[in-house]
Amino acid sequence: MSNRIDRRSVVKGLFTLPAFAVVGSRIVQAGGRLSAIDPGLDPAARRALVMVHLAGGNDGLNTVVPIGDPAYAKLRPALALAKSDVLSIDRGMAFHPALGGFRKLYERGQLAVVQGVGYPNPDFSHFRATEIWEAGDPNGGASGWIGRYLDESASGRGLRAVALSKEQPPLVLASSSSPAVTVSDPASFRPPSNEAAIRAMYSAYVKQPATRHVVGAAGIETLDAATTISRLRGESAVNYPPGELSADLRRAAELLAAGVGVEVLHISFGGFDTHVNQMGKHRQLLNQVGSAFAAFQQDLERRGLARKVVTVVYSEFGRRPAENFGGGTDHGSAGPVFVIGEGVRGGLHGEAPSLTSLDSGNLRFTTDFRSVFGGIVRDCLGGDPSAVFRGITPLGLF
């Protein structure tokens, strides 16, 4: 995905534009209020979006389990979960026993489960499949679907998109008008002591060509983001469970509450590539998932942000319905997508894929991922889905 590298070549030192002053003034306006997500455009639809990628390919069938389907246990002699262990929901479906946190949200009507989400001619490579999901295009591409939303709704504000990561921003946030900022730990994200001198050097490089411009723009972006985020305050009062996902969600809540104008946050939580010995590993991972999101929702409620934030949890693919020799599962196709938040239409959406009519051993998708994300663009971000995806009908989840 060389487009990630190219991304900055279109970044023309945006934070040097008056845009940043606007961010500054918004902070002043926010003056101590905790819920400052409102960008002041379309109050009916606008919510901040937290995208969480379960990286590696989450085994959808052992996450939202078709426990009532006799074909399920036949496909998985070793890996099938027991009827007595799973957490039943509706229509013969059940959550993995470790997803108590999800069931709680489900019962409160704050969790929508979209079943069988995928796209035609699925790809089985992690990187290519991730690119497809992030581009929002079954052919992949150079721009991210959230990036296109950011461009389409260009507001002239900085720091609209943040990736909580030690790595580069993901393709999904790649935008020509609103470069995403990556932050590993907001608490230590402060400008260096000799900021003015460093800024002077990087400003000079922004005006130069090729790689020199890339470095210059990156420097200015970094210093501006550090200035903004260093004003962040409001530590979490909620006890999060241990684990990396929890730590990132806590940071997300703090950033959202800081009122620095963040509209989209991206988190990646890895380890789902369970080719071997899946049972114990998957249980651990899902236990983190369920408890972390339950804590996150509680945190948002305490901060008065529960109606202002929507969380989407997805994976680049599900896994093959039939287990393999090593007590694991190989790369598959469709899987469930979770949409969490107050105001979400909770419950099961779409059809569970058939376990008997398979496509070369893989599930046939029942809901196109673009219609799920199109619905998110329309109903969560308040954007125009047709400007982001072509020829889709957005799924109504709100």
């Binding site: 580069q168 932050v183 002591s193 470095v215 071997v276």
Partner: protein, 396 residues
């Protein structure tokens, strides 16, 4: 730059690309050779056996493997061997996070160090038997009747020919050829009882193939010569190489039956390498930034905090983020990572030996005007910090 005379700038450029930048003594001794003979010395250094691990060396202590490798990068008499090892580590990207055995990871990098300049088919054959790789891409669960496609897929997609040059069926068939290629107690083991001896068809060839046959088939494809050559040109010379430069390197690859030393020598001696367009055209990886800073600042030992800081810059050795390795280029300069580079600069500056010497080495004796102006108005205590945090020093 002219090709006749060899400038300090040209030798410093060569030492940055083939290693981790110059120390004062390296700069002087390579400059005395002239450019072509400097290339000869660097490439012939690849043939020398890599030094043994130091006595009492244990990679099991936390962070020990990464610290030991960084120290080798800083001190090696054959920096190109370390540089190529780093290249292959990013190419055959394997992570200790799944392998869970630092010793196996260290051995894999030792393979890159000793065989990374040999022929590519031989390297791929060794990597296919490497116990860390077998753990990483699930070789032990690749068995007759229930093949695990992980290795076969990445072999084609990421390691040899690249996407678009094979089909799903090729992957499935190649996986069958690798059935039974496992590892036990950290040693490669072929298990006949798990191997599928039947005929397979891969990339148009049919036979009762095993893993070595697949390695031969994929590495002899012209797509492989182009894929590997392009990556080497982009790593050593220019981030967006001309098609003709890639084609010329690929021709050397094909003619030499995949000799990496020959391809590297060709790239270093090609006009594009010495052109102004290539000078400082790459963005330093965290390894290049950290080790380069230690060298120009004349730091005599590798501090453990420097290795930890490198991780926060986005490059934890032995733990690339995915099997695709590090994206590199502009992706190294995400806000968090660049901020960490600035912090690193301030901390290292406190230990730097000599201000003017450090700045001279950092900028090849010619500090760019935009940086020089800022340095001139800064106090002596801040000048090294600013030099190492400057945009120019992020460029390779």
């Amino acid at each position: 730059m002219t090709s006749k005379s060899t400038s300090t700038r040209e030798i410093a450029h060569l030492l940055r690309r083939t290693g981790f930048g110059p120390s004062r003594s390296e700069l002087d001794s390579y400059a005395a050779l002239g450019f072509e003979r400097a290339v000869d010395r660097l490439v012939s250094g690849l043939a020398a056996p890599p030094s043994a691990d130091p006595p009492g060396f244990s990679v099991y202590a936390p962070g020990a493997a990464a610290a030991a490798w960084v120290d080798r990068m800083r001190t090696s008499a054959s920096p190109l061997a370390e540089k190529l090892a780093l290249f292959w580590h990013g190419h055959f990207a394997t992570s200790v996070r799944k392998v869970e055995d630092p010793k196996l990871m260290w051995k894999q990098v030792a393979l890159f160090r000793s065989a990374g300049a040999g022929t590519f088919p031989a390297l791929v054959a060794s990597v296919s038997r490497d116990p860390a790789m077998i753990r990483w891409l699930d070789g032990n669960s690749n068995r007759k009747g229930a093949p695990n496609e992980n290795y076969a897929r990445e072999l084609m997609e990421l390691f040899t020919i690249g996407r678009g040059n094979y089909t799903e069926r090729d992957v499935r068939e190649a996986a069958r050829a690798f059935t039974g290629w496992g590892a036990e107690s950290g040693v490669f083991k072929f298990r006949q009882e798990y191997h599928d001896p039947g005929p397979k068809t891969v990339l148009g060839e049919t036979g009762a193939f095993d893993g070595d046959d697949i390695v031969r088939i994929v590495t002899s494809r012209p797509e492989c010569a182009r894929f590997i050559s392009r990556k080497l040109v982009a790593f050593l010379s220019h981030p967006e190489p001309q098609a003709s430069d890639v084609a010329a390197a690929a021709a050397v690859f094909t003619k030499s039956k995949g000799s990496i030393a020959d391809v590297v020598r060709h790239i270093l001696l090609a006009p594009a390498f010495r052109s102004d367009a290539s000078y400082r055209a790459l963005i330093k990886s965290p390894a290049e930034f950290v080790v380069g800073a230690l060298k120009v600042a004349g730091i005599g030992a590798t501090p453990s905090w420097a290795v930890e800081s490198m991780g926060r810059m986005g490059q934890t050795l032995f733990a690339p983020p995915t099997v695709k390795g590090w994206d590199g280029g502009g992706a190294w300069l995400s806000a968090g990572a660049l901020l960490e580079r600035m912090r690193f600069a301030a901390r290292l500056a406190a230990e730097a030996r000599a201000v003017d010497e450090t700045i001279g080495l950092a900028f090849d004796g010619r500090t760019p005007a935009e940086v020089a102006g800022v340095l001139a108005s800064a106090g002596a205590a801040d000048r090294v910090t600013l030099a190492l945090a400057s945009p120019e020093f992020q460029l390779n």
